[in-house]
């Protein structure tokens, strides 16, 4: 047993985290920055953090992930990193020539207290930023929040640094897709296209982190939200923020700065949440829902009806990011499943309230912890076993030790592919989730059944 060191008895813990269910802000900021066309993320700190973030993202996306670093040394840690960042900006434009440098901080530069906006301004004044190029920034200390917070902060950084209001509405809808996979972003764009709604989706990692093999290595693939569109977000009709935790702050900023009305939604995972997204899009853009979208919805509904007997009453443990977990839990409840243990590593009070409210009708107590870790989740499972685990790769230890099927979802997924190419958002995504869950459950049933009880047909 890999995690044999996990005891069943749960005792209070306050001084430490064991087997985290989250990671740190800069990696989220890096992902958001990669969703800008021609953008090089820059980690303002020592090179270790940046190396870790890039390695983790490379493992998750199976794609090259580029980011530069200020390479702090002891000197910078004492005297501040201004000289490093100024030099870095110059080097980056000379060497890699991106359109945008997206600077995020690390624990180190935050603790030292470097004023990145001021340093970026200095770089501009000193002519280190070529005309037409941009340096944007976000403050991402990891001792606050999680990778989700970092993503949210960089989304905010994008609009703060780039959005403008010309006074001429462009008729578009801004969509902030949350810390989701490139496949999900693609799917959201597809749904918007079906509804004939012109959108600015940002950040957009589709084509960047799931790009094709062309035989050329492009440091900046021709994908991501173009800077011109990011500027135009100030002129849009509305902003749909998908996922309160990852997307709301940027939407609220666009509202307060440019009077672009925000609609804050759940991630469109599962039937109801996708319904709400489609409806919000319809209202914001003043369109009607086309038959093609109704058709896809009908297909999902059909599978939900066909398959409910296999899902009903199944107990699930979920670990992941708050936006994902909330939407998944809602979907599972609709399918008749019982999400009995839920953890997220990202701190914030609303999460537990929301889950309790949502599961109130389930008729049984729910374990929910925010911020929690995988160690606690494992202890809960030892006390009350479940039929299915849903979450990132790190759940595989629990899956193995307790012999429970695992459906991988969220970040990071280090040991499987698929997440980059097949969405779990939208009606199609709902189908895929059901398919994955059923496959996991039925494979397990086939494996465990006796010869006599082994059935050919579902």
């Amino acid at each position: 047993m890999l995690l044999r060191h996990t005891p069943k008895e749960i005792t209070g813990r306050e001084a430490l985290v064991i087997n985290p269910a989250k990671t740190c802000q800069p990696i989220g900021a890096m992902v958001a920055a990669l969703g800008i066309e021609g953008c090089l993320p820059h980690s303002h700190g020592s090179q270790g953090c940046c190396a870790y973030h890039r390695s983790t993202l490379s493992r998750h996306y199976k794609e090259p992930v580029m980011a530069a670093t200020s390479s702090f040394t002891e000197g910078a840690s004492v005297f501040g990193g201004q000289a490093n960042l100024l030099a870095a900006i110059q080097t980056i434009f000379a060497l890699y020539n991106p359109e945008v440098i997206a600077v995020h901080t690390t624990c180190l530069s935050e603790t030292i207290g470097d004023d990145v906006p001021q340093i970026a301004e200095k770089a501009r004044q000193e002519g280190k930023v070529p005309p037409g190029k941009h340096v944007i920034n976000a403050s991402t200390p990891s001792y606050v929040g999680s990778h989700v917070t970092g993503f949210s902060n960089m989304c905010l950084g994008i609009v703060k640094n780039l959005a403008v209001k010309t006074g001429k509405r462009n008729g578009k809808i801004n969509i902030i897709p949350g810390f989701t996979e490139p496949s999900d972003m693609e799917e959201i764009k597809r749904i918007c296209a079906m509804m004939k709604v012109p959108v600015i989706l940002f950040p957009d990692t589709s084509g960047v982190l799931n790009g094709p093999l062309t035989g050329k290595y492009l440091m900046f693939p021709k994908a991501g939200t173009p800077v011109e569109e990011l500027k135009a977000t100030g002129d849009s009709r509305a902003t749909l923020a998908l996922g309160e935790w990852a997307s709301a702050d940027a939407a609220k900023y666009l509202d307060s700065a440019f009077k672009v009305p925000p609609v804050i939604l759940d991630l469109p995972i599962g039937l109801s949440a996708t319904d709400r997204f489609v409806d919000a899009l319809r209202k914001a853009a003043g369109v009607t829902v086309p038959a093609s979208v109704e058709f896809e919805r009908g297909q999902l509904l059909d599978v939900m009806a066909d398959m409910h007997p296999y899902l009903y009453g199944k107990k699930v443990a979920i670990a992941g990011d708050p936006d994902q977990v909330t939407a998944l839990a809602e979907f599972f409840l609709v399918l008749g499943m019982l999400p009995v243990h839920i953890v997220t590593g990202t701190p914030g009070k609303r999460f537990e309230e929301r889950i309790h409210k949502m599961t109130g009708t389930m008729g049984r107590p729910v374990n929910v912890k925010c911020p929690g870790d995988m160690f606690l989740l494992h202890q809960w499972i030892k006390n009350e076993p479940v039929d299915l685990l849903v979450g990132n790769t790190y759940l595989k230890y629990i899956a193995r030790d307790e012999d429970i099927p695992l459906v991988r979802h969220g970040f990071p997924i280090l040991d499987r592919i698929g997440h980059s190419y097949f969405p779990t958002v939208g009606y199609k995504g709902g189908l895929r989730l059901i398919e994955k869950i059923l496959t996991a459950l039925m494979d397990r049933q086939d494996r465990d059944s006796t010869e006599t009880g082994f059935e050919l047909v579902m």
């Binding site: 064991i18 020592s46 090179q47 270790g48 060497l95 603790t111 790190y394």
Partner: protein, 462 residues
Amino acid sequence: MNTQVLEERQDQFHTVGGSAFEMACNRESLAGAVSQRACVFCGSRVVLYPIADALHLVHGPLGCAAYTWDIRGALSSGPELHRMSFCTDLRENDVVFGGEKKLARALDELIDRHSPKAAFVYSTCIAGLIGDDMDAVCARAESEKGIPVIAVRSEGFKGNKREGYSAACRAMMRLVGTGDTSGVPRVAVNLLGDYNLAGELWIIREYFRRMGVGVVANVTGDGRVEDLRRAHGAALNVVQCSGSTMELAKMMREAHGTPFIRASYLGIEDMAASLYAVADFFKNEDPEIVDRTACLVREKLTALMPRLALYRQDLEGKKAAIYVGGAFKAFSLVKAFRHLGMRVALAGSQTGTREDYEELAAICDPGCVIVDDANPLELSAFLEKEDVDVLVGGVKERPIAYKLGVGFCDHNHERKIPLEGFEGMENFAREIHATVTSPVWRFMPRRAGRTGGMPACLEAGI
């Protein structure tokens, strides 16, 4: 490629057979470069983490711990405590008021619950910056709990991985010499600098067993605290790899008079030479050891060579590029590729020293480019220009190679099959063969129009 090489970086390249050797190495990465390098903490963590019955507690914000949670396949034959991730999770408040109390509480709780044989507490950038007196906290825990509690000074900003290796060696040195060496055989060694990735150390230990050489401590693959404590009982330290544990060997020589030899278990010559060197060391103690060793090597080579010859049929004349963490590994790889009939067109590392690169240049063919701390653009420009067939590298290089339609072999922590020893050489040949001759490359743009027959090995059913 010169367009991609900044002027300041020119002296971190060298072409074998070109101008006189002149390379600036072990220098800090340029601010703003997309460096492949990591930090001190990473170095320490990598070296110490395989000690499986110790508690490894990261004193810092959660991210540093999350990224190092069981990412290397350092296998253990017993305890698995090292595969858990423990972190004090420093928050805003701790950054302001200090994290010492939290650290003390965490140690208290963890040592009570998991009864480790020792505890390593890793300092991260933030722990260093807020100035926690980790030594004092660790000393208190040590006296209360009765196990060694060791602060590893691995603040990331203090340098790159090398400094992390030093910090790890200093931490281990706290253990060495504190155990009882009675019962340690006279012909016994410590194996330094092997992490038992994919169970490699077990292969090497088996060779030594057959030679009649005992192993006191694995440093650190499948490592145990008790073994480290009595490591000074061994007659010799066998040190693999360029940097990671050399300092421990030097400290042990200083403190306990233990001599050391350098070894490499990669490739045929280096593997055999390493075994012979150990045999040579003990030949007065055990006159038959040389024969036993020769017999072992002969047996292994008799099995291996015909198989390599088969792979070689398909690989003859193909080109390889090497970009690995340490330069010492690059030496062995250059030689290993020769056995496969392949030419090495680029050899580079993240952390080599000047002497390393000089030595590397000496064994490489003319035209081979030697590079220190390459950025991805340089690397990809090179792979394209030289039209190499395979890149040997680590996690960050893999997707670059694949994007170009170039084969890849992971020779870093993500390798899943053993590449050390004679068995490992065959695995290596098979991996290289599999990736170089894979039919998928026929569809790659850069290879368009070229056709390939069935690789001889596949036809031979290997």
